[in-house]
Amino acid sequence: MTDIPTSTDPSLKEEPVPRRFFQRPLVMIWCAALAAAVTFATFAEPYAPWAFKYPRAWRLELYFDGKFIELKNWISKVVDWLISDASFGLFTFTELTRGVSWIMERPYILAKSLLSTGFLEGQGSAAIQILPPLSWIAVIVIIVAMARFARDRKLAALVGACFLYLALFNQWSSAMVTLSSIVIAVPFGVAGGLLIGIAAHRSRIVKMIVSPVLDLMQTVPVFAYLVPILVLFGFGPVSAIIATIIYAMPPMVRITMLALKQVPGEIIDLGNMVGCTRRQMTWRVMVPSAMSSLMIGVNQVIMLSLNMVIIASMIGAGGLGYDVLASLRRLDIGAGIEAGVGIVVLAIALDRLSQAFASREPSEHREERPSALWRRFPYTAVCLAVVLATGILGLFWGWAQAWPAAWSITTGDFWSELVKYININFFDELETFKNALLLNVLIPFKRFLIAIPWPVAMALLGLAGYSLGGWRLGVLCALLCLFVASVGLWSKAMVTVYLCGISVMFACLIGIPVGIAAAERERVWRVVRVVIDTLQTLPSFVYLMPVVMLFRVGDFTAMIAVVAYALAPAVRYTAHGIRQVDPQLLEAGVVSGCTPGQLLRKIKLKLALPEIMLGINQTIMLALSMLVITALVGTRELGQEVYIALTKADIGRGLVAGFCVAFIAIIADRLITAGAQRARARLGLQ
């Protein structure tokens, strides 16, 4: 820094001497730091072994009951204590969890009786049905009527076709079990998210607590909080619903906070001027005015709940998710794909339906209200009539009640045969491809990352944070890094970073060019958009199955699945970033004689850079969340740690590993966001 001229001569002050790249102070610091890092990593091992293997004695320990113990054991101990001893005066902690699950169970049983099992009298297999569930015809009519009410005939046809598909391909009964948990999870998720969002909007303190929790919730892998739920609530559909709610709620909270903040100031002034109390202000003014934004949150909750279907089946949800998981374990590809597609179809139907409700304008004015009830509520009337009619018909003709098995088609064999065919005929090619990539790219990269000593990584990340976003960010990055090392998960974390990094790299190598192509040509964009929209509705597990079939288990398989899952944002943000470049700038470029190639490189990509960086950020987030799921196919990283904890119901182990994943995500997110911010400021796009 000393080479900055300090003369008082004003001409010198106003025109800083242009310095070469290597003479900028930050660049010089970085060069020095990297050189030091390489030297340290190569030669320091005999002198500082602690830097290469984090010593056990230095691990993070907390105080519990007279002695210091490791963090993961500490967490488990605390939860044990909660379950066995904790009491809030009137009731114990266990009674509290029982109470919660009792409250959740009532509506679930009702929904399940209605959609799937019928109303039962008695217990277990001795139970007798006193009322049948809704017939398949009734369910389809209701859902079609909702679609017609929310938008138009086209949507009604789409939604009806989706549900008919479920019946035709023999997924009906599983789908209805899944639907009944969704039907319960979504209202709880929406209401909970809304209430928390409102509280955070109204109180600064609540907001200060909620915001970091939301950050953490969105980055901690789901598996990590499955473990405590399993321990607290036991194995069963109620636990699954609770997990789903916790998973699906954060975006609702965020959207609520945002929507309330966006209510125009005039509307709030109006509320005050007519003398609203605080409660009236919230419920009569703010929430109704923000309704259309809030509905987007509802749609998000539905989609995330469906995303959880398979994972939730690990702690006791039945239905389609369970079918997928079971066939994945049996390696029965046909059944797995059928059930997986069933989830997708259900997701598409519910997504479009909820979007239609979200964008529905408040109805046109009506001059007169018809007096007859059935004319005032025609949709409800038709639905009720069909429910009654099919219910009665069903007593005499079975097909009116339950979809007859004889009408079903199965494609399971087809999928199995297809995979078998590919494996027999293309085994060598696939294997060569896989091995080439493994040997030349994946393994060297993994070795390189694992060889980095933890203090070096910590210092470099701290420096990166400092140069992108100031000393606070630097300290945050270094501390989060230290946490990972201090709980003894450093090498597993490095494997996670390696798998995530390599997948993100491939996702970008594919996604960014596709995004560029899509941005340049409207026709390509239309096709690409449909594809990535669909990719994003697919539950993550669906990606896993075909890859496992083709490449069996291992790092490579995991990588392919992660790339497929995380591709969409790279494409979307690139295309979006390029398309929003100011057309005047492009014209200026054309006028000054740029070739199309120069136009792309010198103007479009430069200006789209911040947006592309955000896309990469999203890709990393998706990749990390998918990585944990790929632990099922035998990767050896943090995801596996979480998964093992789940099977052993070891809360501490699962949460600590989960936090490590979250911290990696937070470091990546903060660094990239700060970088994008700087790029944007430099380009004057602020």
Partner: protein, 342 residues
């Protein structure tokens, strides 16, 4: 004007935005614009004192950013002034508790907003009845009252429309109707017609004058359009950079602008529309002119209204006050001189 006649009185009201505003103001009661700037504060309202008397249309006028909205929000205590007193019928609003404020706003104040602030999920009737709904009045009663007011503003037949089905002018009629639903004594209008097309704006101004003739409210009306101010105002306050430059009748402002800024505003105004006969008449001669006066004109009439009568008359007119006494005389040439000025 005696203070007890005033509906609303502002006594050196300040509103500063920025950190540490209160402390800075307590140290230095007479902060100038440059003081504020060096303290990093925004002086949205600076030391404003004014009175709004019963039944008058008081217009606050100024360019964008001059602090009009902030001032009117201080008057209704939608934002808390940094310093000063706001007396509503003699009691200090700033000392009222939250519950008292709710009561005052529910029954005694109404406000119309620039962008209408209609609730999108309610019909016209629902919007107009909303202040009554908030008070907990039963549905039948509040809809009956809302219907009456909807009729008053000329929207009958559209009670069941939603705001987005209405034009801008119609939407603002709903806004006006809603603010009148509680029969307020004090009526705030913050640039109510600024978002409307010029033709509709004119129509709405006429509508507004008609309503005021009927209802006789005390009104604080905000505008940045001087022509609008002149048409509607009994008195006008001109604001600049958060401070009031001058308060007076439209005529005062035109004849005796207190600052260059006010003069600049009034320069392009059609004088004939603003000036009254009294302002330009000559003192009455000791003896009536030979051949008598050509006729009589009231002293309070605007020049533009009587210009036609004077046309072609070669003798002077007598100017009479409200009791019919002659207080001056006016010649055709005096009027033409005014008309020539634009």
């Amino acid at each position: 004007m005696a203070e007890n006649e005033a509906k609303l009185v502002c006594k050196s009201v300040w509103k500063l935005f920025g950190p540490g505003a209160e402390a800075a103001l307590a140290n230095n009661r007479g902060m100038s614009m440059s003081d504020l700037q060096s303290a990093g504060l925004i002086g949205a309202v600076r030391d404003v004192s004014l009175e709004v008397s019963d039944g008058e249309i008081f217009v606050i006028m100024g360019l964008s950013g001059s602090g009009k909205s902030t001032l009117v929000r201080c008057m209704s205590r939608l934002i808390e002034p940094t310093a000063g007193e706001i007396l509503f019928e003699g009691t200090d609003l700033l000392k009222a508790s939250a519950a008292e404020m709710i009561e005052i706003r529910r029954h005694r104040m109404g406000m119309v907003f620039q962008h209408f602030a209609l609730l999108p999920h309610l019909t016209v009737l629902g919007n107009v009845a909303f202040p009554l709904e908030v008070q907990g009045i039963a549905r039948g009663e509040r809809e009956r009252r809302a219907r009456e007011i909807v009729e008053l503003v000329g929207l009958q037949g559209r009670e069941n429309y939603y705001p987005r089905e209405l034009s801008g002018g119609q939407q603002q009629r709903v806004g006006i109707a809603r603010s009148l639903a509680v029969e307020p004594e004090l009526w705030f209008l913050d640039e109510p017609f600024s978002a409307l097309d010029p033709l509709i704006r004119r129509e709405m101004q006429d509508e507004f004058l008609r309503l005021q003739k009927l209802l006789q409210k005390s009104i604080v009306f905000i505008t940045h359009d001087f022509d609008e101010a002149i048409r509607l105002a009994d008195r006008i306050a001109i604001m600049k950079d958060g401070a009031v430059d001058q308060v007076g009748t439209p005529e005062d402002l035109v004849i005796r602008p207190a600052t260059d800024y006010v003069a600049e505003f009034t320069r392009d105004v059609s004088r004939a529309k603003v000036l009254s006969v009294r302002a330009i008449m000559a003192p009455p001669p000791k003896r009536p002119p030979r051949g008598g006066y050509a006729g009589e004109v009231p002293a309070s009439a605007k020049i533009s209204d009587i210009a036609n009568d004077l046309n072609g008359a070669d003798r002077a007119f007598a100017v009479t006050d409200a009791t019919g006494k002659t207080v001056g005389q006016l010649t055709r040439d005096d009027v033409i001189a005014i008309l020539m000025q634009g």
